[in-house]
Symmetry: C2
Subunit: 337 residues, 2 copies
């Protein structure tokens, strides 16, 4: 074990990188949800002025990066690295969205955990002294995800109650080696956890064991308890996955007093009826880079444990009868160092 590691999985950053700026963008349904006021931009056109939804998703990534740079008063040449990924095959949302940015690029695939993975790597690279500033970007789009993972959207297929609604949204965080905060103080890299769930319409249940595994590792490694955090928030477990994680901790005799899920916050559960909640890389990304980071800056919370989860399946793996491996990366975000 290494000096900067607390236990097996958690790194305590020696000089916690600071959030310099953040930006998010959402689509029509996000504009009708309870967090609409925390978005920088809400677009009613699902094509974002493009000819295809895939190109629309790339535009979202491009715009959130540009806006975050603008908010930080930076040029793209000020960024040493960009860490990005998305749900599309071969991650084309990122590669096409960011190809004009002229920034050294590390492409990631962490499914819906990508906002956590990208932020974790950006924080480590900065704290290691390899970058002064780096960006973390991710996105999802309901229409690109539906036709890739499930059915063409015009079919209007019926969705089971456990299904979630992929957010049309993107988010970007720019981290720096010094700044006003909030700060990334701890990073816990998750392991792949597969408990044998095979229902691709029940991602929450598939990802819940990974969330439990990573959050447990975080508490164990840091010697802290859930009550030490003003908010513990997963990415897109949805209602069912969220309750499963609560149950897992309950079996350990541990309460989660302030436990939320980005997927349960993005839409209005009654008025919008998105079944089990929101999902997609863009869900956690847009909730973090708006509602959560704004709240940390404004004093709503002092210490957040942000733990987005990803389901590492593909339509091919499901067709071949495979179960759904999950992963969860956790970061501790603090208003002060």
């Amino acid at each position: 074990m290494n000096d900067k590691h607390l236990g097996r999985q958690t790194v305590a950053l020696q000089d916690p990188p600071s959030v310099l700026a953040f930006s998010n963008i959402g689509g029509k349904f996000e504009s009708q949800g309870p967090l609409a006021g925390s978005f920088d931009e809400l677009e009613q056109d699902s094509f974002f002025g493009q000819k295809t939804w895939e190109k629309a998703e790339s535009v979202m990534q491009k715009r959130v990066l540009e806006r975050a740079l603008q908010k930080a008063g930076l040029q793209s040449s000020d960024l040493d690295y960009i860490f990005a990924g998305d749900l599309l095959n071969q991650c084309i949302g990122s590669s096409f969205g960011l190809r004009g940015s002229d920034i050294p690029f590390f492409g990631l695939y962490g499914a819906c955990s990508t906002m956590g993975e990208s932020l974790a790597l950006a924080a480590l690279i900065i704290d290691g002294g390899f970058a002064r500033k780096a960006a973390a970007v991710t996105s999802s789009h309901f229409c690109t995800a539906e036709r890739q993972y499930r059915m063409p959207v015009p079919y209007g297929s019926q969705r089971p109650p456990t299904a979630q609604w992929t957010a049309t949204a993107a988010g970007c965080t720019i981290l720096g080696d010094s700044g006003p905060g909030p700060y990334v103080t701890h990073v816990t890299c998750g392991k792949i956890v597969d408990k044998g769930i095979t229902d691709a319409n029940n991602m929450g249940a598939a990802m819940a064991p990974a969330a439990y595994d990573t959050l447990s590792a975080f508490f164990r490694d840091t010697g802290t308890a859930p009550g030490d955090y003003d908010l513990i928030i997963t990415g897109d477990l949805g209602e069912l996955g969220h309750s499963i994680v609560r149950d897992f901790f309950h079996q350990d005799g541990v309460d989660l007093p302030a436990f939320q899920d980005c997927g349960m916050l993005l839409y209005d559960r009654k008025a919008q009826d998105m079944h089990a909640g929101a999902s997609g890389c863009g869900c956690a990304a847009s909730v973090l880079n708006g509602y959560l980071l704004s709240g940390l800056r404004q004093g709503t919370w002092k210490r957040i444990l942000f733990a987005p989860t990803g389901a590492l399946l593909s339509p091919v793996s499901s067709c071949q009868g495979e179960s759904i491996p999950g992963i969860c990366h956790a970061l501790c975000l603090c208003a002060e160092k």
Copy 2:
């Protein structure tokens, strides 16, 4: 710019991480090629004992990790992180192959540059003091790639002369904070470069500008010249891409005296007729984790510049008329620190 950076893109590692062990695996065509003797394992069954080719690809990743651990005399619990990716949609080669490893996992997507990307991040994370040991793993499989990117294999579609043959191969490198070498001394993270090539059967031409961009950045940042390296080797540019890179440098008045491409080494150009050469993540991965690292240990070369390239397209982006963005990550590997 930060102290550890030489110029914009290159990091000089302060305490160069050492290769502790490496392993590779190949399929039938790799067993008939000129590098067959540098493989740890060559399997004649394209299914690797599984029911599907996708599962076969996962088995390759699992086996190279296990063998590299065995060669290093390590347990999976000795690894602080694993960095892995592949070409399959949602990178299922990695997530299913490594789900049982119980190692903190960062999933990557860099197309055929993934061996460079994973090794670069592993080296940075170790040099930053966040890990003592980490693994970098990647794979490709001819049959999974063909049916995903092009046509079902049984169609027997004719291939144009510029086409390459996706290697059925995988490789794993285990890096540590101290060891006998070879050492990773420099890392250059590439930018996405898109010069408008749209022919998905001519990946070499699409990726060549990225290779030129990253190699140029490396020489500029380090103040070295091609002649300072015993071998400069790209990943899978193939014959055409390789000659384009040579031409680009020639236009700058720069000769590349010892310039090779893994894609031109893996198969016998006459006897096997793979057209422009090998491709796929597994090409650079298996050539590095056999022929190249063995050669560094045995004194064939003292200093190698390893620069695998990736084409960041998808079948969907091509169908939508998009050009092919490329990327290239470069690492300097030295027999001695």
